[in-house]
Amino acid sequence: MGLNIHTNHRMLFFIPAISYLVLVYLCAVWPAMVEMEAMEAVPKPFEDELPAIGRKLYGSYNCVTCHTQQIRGDERKATDVDGVRTTPVLTADARFGRELATRAEEYAWQDPVFMGTQRTGPDLSSTGRRLPAVQWHYWHLYNPQAVSPGSLMPPHRFLFTTTPPPPDEEFDYEEVLVIEGLGVKSDRLWATPDAKALVEYLLSLKREHLEQGRLAK
C-alpha cells in the first residue's frame, strides 16, 4: 500500500484534510483573530434599548437580503493627509456615503454585521440622516409604493394595527398620521411596538460618530 494516495485511503483522507485545515487557518482563522484584536481596541458603543430591539427585528425580517449597509471605497487610491486617512468612495456608492467609505470600526461589536451582498433597495447605512421623519418611515413600512412609487419593497402591514391599543399599553404604540394613498381601510392606524422599534433602529443609522471623529481630528 505504501504512502501512495492512489492506493492508500488513509493518505487520501489525511492529505486533503490536513491541507484544508492549514488553508482554513491561513485564510479565515488567523485573519479573524488579528481583526478581532483590532476590533476589541474599539470601545463598545452604547446602544439604546429600542434600536437594539429594532436591530433584531431588522434581522428577523431579513431586510439585509435587499439592503446593504456599506459604502465601498477604493483602498488603492486612499490618501493620508495630516494623519487622516481618506478612502475615495466608488461612484456607484457616492450618493449614500458622501465622501466617507465605511471603515472597520463602524462595524465593531455589531453581531451580526448587516453589510449585505445585494442592493435591490437603497443602502441604509445613513438612513437616519437622509430620512429623519418618523412618520415617513411608518408610511413607507405600511405601504412603500404610497411614498415611493415604483418601489419593489414588500409592504409590512402586519406591523400595524387599526384596532386602538389597550389603554395600559398605549405608550408602546404610536399613532400613524393617515395620509391619502396609504390604503388604510380605517380612519386611524397605530404602529405596533415592533414597528416603533424597527423605525427607531433605522433612524439610529447615521454614521454620526464617524463624522464627529473626523472633525475632531
Binding site: 486533503p16 491541507s19 485564510c27 478581532m36 439585509v64 483602498e75 454585521v113 415604483g150 419593497m153
Partner: protein
C-alpha cells in the same frame, strides 16, 4: 450500443440489494420533494419582484424570510440530498463493492438515519426562518443552529460510511470520484463548524468568516460532489474511459488550494484586510485551472460521441451541466475582478450567476446522473417523453432567467454609475424581473415532470424479484 436503454439497464440493475436501492431512492425522492417545495417558494419571490403585493399580509411569508427558505432548501434539501444519495451508489460501484451487499446492515441503518436527519434539519430550518428565527446577514447559513445540527451529524455519518466503503474496496486503486466524495464530507464538516462557531461573530472578523463560509459551502461541497459524480457517470454512460485521469488529479489538488481562499471576493472594496481581498481576486482567476482540468476532461471524453449524446435521455443533461460548469466558473472568475465589481456587485447579475452555477452546473449534472444511474440500480426507466419535456423546459427556463438577469443587472449597475436616483435603477431593471418570473415558471413546471420521472424510477417489484440474481 452505448445508449443505456432497455436490456443493459436490466442487466446492470439485476442483483442490486433492494434495501440499498431503497435507501438511495429515499435520499433522491426527499431531494425531489424539496426541489418542488423550494422552487415554488423561489417562484413566489420572483413574482413578488414584479408585484410586491403578492401574499404580503403575513409576517411569516414576507419576502425577506422566504428568500433564505428558497436558498437553504435548494442547497441542503435538494442539491445536497440528491448528491449524497448518488454518492452512495457511485462509491459502491467504483470500489467494485458486491452489489448484493454493498453496505452492511448497520451501515444501511446509519445511511437511512442520516437521510432522516437531513430531512428534519431542512424542515426545521424552513419553519424556524418563517417564524422569524433567521441567522440574518449570514448567507447560506440563515438557519438557526438547531436546524444545521442534524444536517451536520448527517454529513459526519455519511463521511464515515464513504470512508469505510472505500477502505474495503475490491480494487487496489481508489477512483477519482471517491477522492472528491470523501474529501467533500470532511471539508463540509469544517465549513459548518466555521459557519456556526461563536468566537468571531461580530465586526470585521464576522465578515472574514462569512466570505470564507459563503464560498467554501459552495465550492468545497457541491462542486467536488458534482465533479465526482460526473467522473463516474460520464465514462459509464459513454462506455469508455475518462480522457485523462491525471487531469482529474490535477483538478482535485488545484481545486483544494485555490477554492479555499477565494471567499473574500464577496467583500471587495470593504474594510476587510487588503491582502485577503487581493488573494481572493488572484485565486478566483486561478480557478480556471481546476475548472478547465475537469471541464476539458469531460468535454474531451465526450468528443466524437455526438450521436450517443443525442440518442440518450441522460447524456444531454450531463453535456449541459459540464458546459455550464466551465462557463459559470469563468463568469465567477471575471466577477471577482475589481473593475467588474464596480459595475456588477450588488446587482441582479450576481443572482443570475448564482443560478447559472447552481442550476446549469449543479442541478443539470445531478439530473444527468439520476437519469443515467438510477435505472441501472432499480431497473426502471423514466418515460422518455417526460424526460425530454423536463430537459427543454428547464433549459429554456434557465436561459430566460440568466439572460434576463444578466442584462437587467448590467442596466441596474450602469444606472448607479450614472448617478441616477436609486428608484431609476429599480425602474430600468423592472422589465427583467418579468423575464425572471417567466424563466422561473418554466423551471418550476419542468420540476414537476422531473418528479414524475423520479417517482417512476423508484425501486419496485423488479428490484425485489431480481435481487438475488447476482449472488
Amino acid at each position: 450500443m452505448k445508449i443505456p436503454v432497455g436490456i443493459p439497464v436490466f442487466v446492470a440493475a439485476a442483483g442490486t440489494n433492494p434495501n440499498f436501492a431503497k435507501m438511495v431512492s429515499r435520499w433522491l425522492i426527499s431531494a425531489g420533494v424539496w426541489l418542488l417545495f423550494a422552487s415554488v417558494v423561489g417562484l413566489l419571490e420572483a413574482f413578488r419582484l414584479v408585484d410586491p403585493e403578492i401574499l404580503a399580509d403575513y409576517a411569516w411569508l414576507t419576502f425577506g424570510r422566504m428568500r433564505p427558505v428558497h436558498t437553504m432548501t435548494m442547497l441542503f434539501g435538494w442539491a445536497s440530498m440528491a448528491l449524497v444519495g448518488l454518492a452512495f451508489y457511485v462509491v459502491a460501484k467504483s470500489t467494485l463493492a458486491p452489489m448484493h451487499e454493498p453496505m452492511k446492515k448497520a451501515e444501511l441503518f446509519l445511511a437511512n438515519l442520516a437521510m432522516v436527519l437531513c430531512n428534519v434539519g431542512v424542515a426545521v430550518g424552513a419553519v424556524a426562518m418563517a417564524m422569524g428565527d433567521v441567522n440574518a446577514g449570514r448567507e447560506y447559513r440563515e438557519w438557526p443552529w438547531y436546524a444545521m445540527a442534524p444536517v451536520f451529524v448527517a454529513v459526519g455519518i455519511c463521511g464515515l460510511l464513504f470512508y469505510r466503503m472505500v477502505a474495503r474496496r475490491a480494487v487496489e486503486g481508489i477512483y477519482i470520484s471517491c477522492w472528491f466524495v470523501m474529501a467533500a464530507c470532511f471539508w463540509m464538516a469544517i465549513v459548518v463548524v466555521m459557519g456556526y462557531q461563536t468566537f468571531w461573530t461580530a465586526g470585521i472578523p464576522d465578515r472574514i468568516v462569512d466570505g470564507f463560509y459563503i464560498h467554501n459551502a459552495v465550492g468545497m461541497w457541491f462542486t467536488p460532489l458534482c465533479v465526482g459524480m460526473t467522473y463516474y457517470a460520464l465514462p459509464k454512460l459513454l462506455n469508455k474511459p475518462i480522457y485523462s485521469y491525471a487531469l482529474g488529479v490535477l483538478g482535485f489538488f488545484t481545486h483544494l488550494v485555490f477554492y479555499t481562499v477565494i471567499g473574500t471576493h464577496h467583500y471587495i472594496f470593504t474594510p476587510l484586510p487588503m491582502i485577503l481581498q487581493t488573494t481572493a481576486v488572484i485565486c478566483s482567476v486561478a480557478m480556471i485551472v481546476p475548472v478547465w482540468a475537469s471541464t476539458g476532461n469531460f468535454l474531451m471524453t465526450m468528443k466524437g460521441e455526438g450521436l450517443a449524446i443525442s440518442h440518450s435521455y441522460s447524456l444531454p443533461f450531463l453535456f449541459v451541466g459540464v458546459v455550464g460548469y466551465g462557463l459559470a466558473s469563468v463568469q465567477g472568475s471575471a466577477e471577482a475582478l475589481r473593475f467588474v465589481q464596480e459595475v456588477l456587485h450588488f446587482t441582479h447579475y450576481t443572482v443570475g450567476h448564482a443560478h447559472f452555477a447552481m442550476y446549469v452546473f449543479v442541478t443539470f449534472l445531478i439530473w444527468g446522473c439520476i437519469y443515467g444511474l438510477v435505472p441501472r440500480m432499480t431497473g426502471r426507466e423514466p418515460p422518455i417523453l417526460l424526460v425530454s419535456i423536463h430537459f427543454w423546459l428547464a433549459l429554456a427556463g434557465i436561459a430566460v432567467y440568466v439572460i434576463g438577469l444578466s442584462v437587467g443587472g448590467h442596466v441596474q449597475g450602469e444606472s448607479w454609475l450614472e448617478g441616477e436616483p436609486m428608484m431609476e435603477s429599480v425602474r430600468v431593471s423592472a422589465p427583467y424581473m418579468v423575464w425572471r418570473a417567466v424563466g422561473g415558471l418554466l423551471m418550476v413546471v419542468s420540476h414537476i415532470f422531473f418528479f414524475v420521472c423520479l417517482w417512476r424510477m423508484r425501486p419496485g417489484a423488479f428490484t425485489m424479484a431480481y435481487a438475488g440474481a447476482g449472488k
